[in-house]
């Protein structure tokens, strides 16, 4: 139990130590710590923001996709409708063409038949004249009996 010069030395050493800590230790440790804290806070805020943006982007992507899907549906519907239309048109055109062809063929047939009848009639007339001439053993003046012949032909 004594007090001596050590006390004064101790106070001096303490004062120097406080000064040193205050000048070279405290700010140089706490400063970077606070700076790091600030950076971490910024990073977290940026991460939050990024997440939010991602969420927003995802939502907009979804809406764009939905829209695209709807548009695709509309396009497919239209395509189907026009395909049906084209098919119908083609079918009706084919039907018309077929009918037309059938009609033309019938006409041709009728024409041919009429022509054949005409020929037949003429031939029959000729044969009948020839037969009559043979029967009468003389020439029939075609001109003289034309009225008779044509009446005959008309009766065939």
């Amino acid at each position: 139990m004594h007090v001596n010069l050590t006390l004064v030395i101790q106070m001096a050493v303490f004062a120097v130590l406080i000064w040193f800590t205050m000048k070279f230790v405290w700010p140089m440790i706490l400063g970077p710590m606070q700076e790091r804290e600030r950076r971490i806070a910024q990073g977290l805020a940026a991460a939050d923001k990024g997440e939010e943006e991602l969420e927003r982007a995802r939502a907009s992507a979804e809406s764009i996709l939905r829209e695209a899907r709807e548009r695709a549906g509309v396009i497919v519907d239209q395509a189907q409708r026009s395909a049906t239309e084209i098919l119908d048109q083609a079918r009706s055109a084919a039907t018309h063409e077929g009918q037309r062809l059938v009609a033309a063929a019938q006409e041709q047939i009728e024409l041919d038949a009429a022509r054949a009848k005409e020929q037949l009639r003429q031939q029959v007339g000729a044969i009948a004249v020839a037969a009559a001439a043979k029967l009468l053993d003389r020439e029939i003046d075609a001109r003289a009996h034309e009225a008779l012949l044509s009446e005959f032909a008309a009766q065939l």
Binding site: H2, N4, L7, Q10, M11, M28, I29
Partner: protein, 286 residues
């Protein structure tokens, strides 16, 4: 046993004697120096300042990378001290936090010297011819008062700086008793002055003696535990009771060491917190 008594007394006395330039006979003598206290105080100051400065230099460049190892440890202490200061003091004085850090670390290191085996360093000192060595600066009154008086000077300095000389005097004389009557107030002034002065002076004294008492007592327990096997020395290992005593000593020293580890931390913490509180009070207006 009768012959052993002076040995025990001498052993204890040896552990209470400082390494001085000359024997001190009076309570106060400013021509005497405790070399051991000065040596270990400066050594520990260099250890603290050096290691923290090393971290501080590295830390300033490592904002981007995560701290690790010793740097994390130092940052943990700094952050903790900073929180303690913020809890109590809300001003802008840039001295208080570094002061608190210095006190906590330095006092902790002082106290930690108590956990070095009591005879290790004194015996080593004897081999180089030093008769005495007290390794714990906080068991030296000069050591603890050196801290508390510096804190006291800072308290007075900031009280006067913040409140002005008149404000400081008013704080000493106008509380706790006050009256609107001028005459009564004049009578209260000396009473207040005595009360407030005692309060003021009690602060550094209690600050120093609390630390001193705790650490001194702790050291004394270690010394007393060392006495268990002192009489027999290595010869004690020849008997069963000698082994028993040695094991008992080892066990008790370990248990007390663990408990003392708590005490030295708490004492360093108390010294730091009270310093913060006192300096915060010095900044407050009443």
């Amino acid at each position: 046993m009768a012959a052993a008594k002076p040995q025990i007394g001498g052993y204890i006395l040896e552990h209470l004697t400082f390494l001085t330039n000359k024997p001190q006979t009076t309570l106060v003598n400013f021509t005497v120096i405790d070399y051991d206290t000065v040596f270990f105080s400066v050594l520990l100051a260099v250890l603290f300042a050096g290691s923290f400065y090393w971290v501080a230099r590295r830390a300033s460049g490592s904002v981007k990378s995560a701290p690790r190892g010793f740097q994390s440890f130092v940052e943990m202490i700094v952050e903790w001290v900073d929180a303690q200061v913020r809890d109590v003091y809300h001003g802008t004085n840039r001295l208080i936090a570094p002061l608190a850090l210095t006190i906590f670390c330095w006092v902790y290191l002082f106290n930690f010297m108590d956990l070095v085996p009591v005879d290790l360093l004194p015996d080593l000192a004897k081999t180089v011819g030093l008769a005495h060595l007290k390794v714990v600066p906080s068991t030296d009154l000069n050591g603890v008062f050196g801290l508390s008086l510096t804190v006291f000077v800072l308290m007075i300095f900031y009280s006067i700086k913040v409140k002005g000389p008149l404000g400081f005097l008013g704080e000493l004389t106008l509380h706790p008793f006050s009256s609107k009557n001028k005459l009564v107030q004049a009578l209260f002034v000396p009473v207040n002055f005595i009360l407030e002065s005692v309060t003021l002076i009690a602060r550094p004294v209690s600050l120093a003696l609390r630390l001193f008492g705790n650490i001194f007592a702790g050291e004394m327990i270690f010394v007393l535990l060392a006495l268990l096997t002192l009489e027999h020395g290595y010869a004690g290992l020849a008997s069963v009771s000698g082994w028993g005593l040695m094991l008992l000593q080892a066990l008790l020293t370990f248990v007390w060491g663990v408990f003392h580890l708590l005490i030295i931390t708490i004492q360093a913490f108390i010294f730091m917190v009270l310093t913060i509180v006192y300096l915060a009070m010095a900044h407050e207006h009443h």
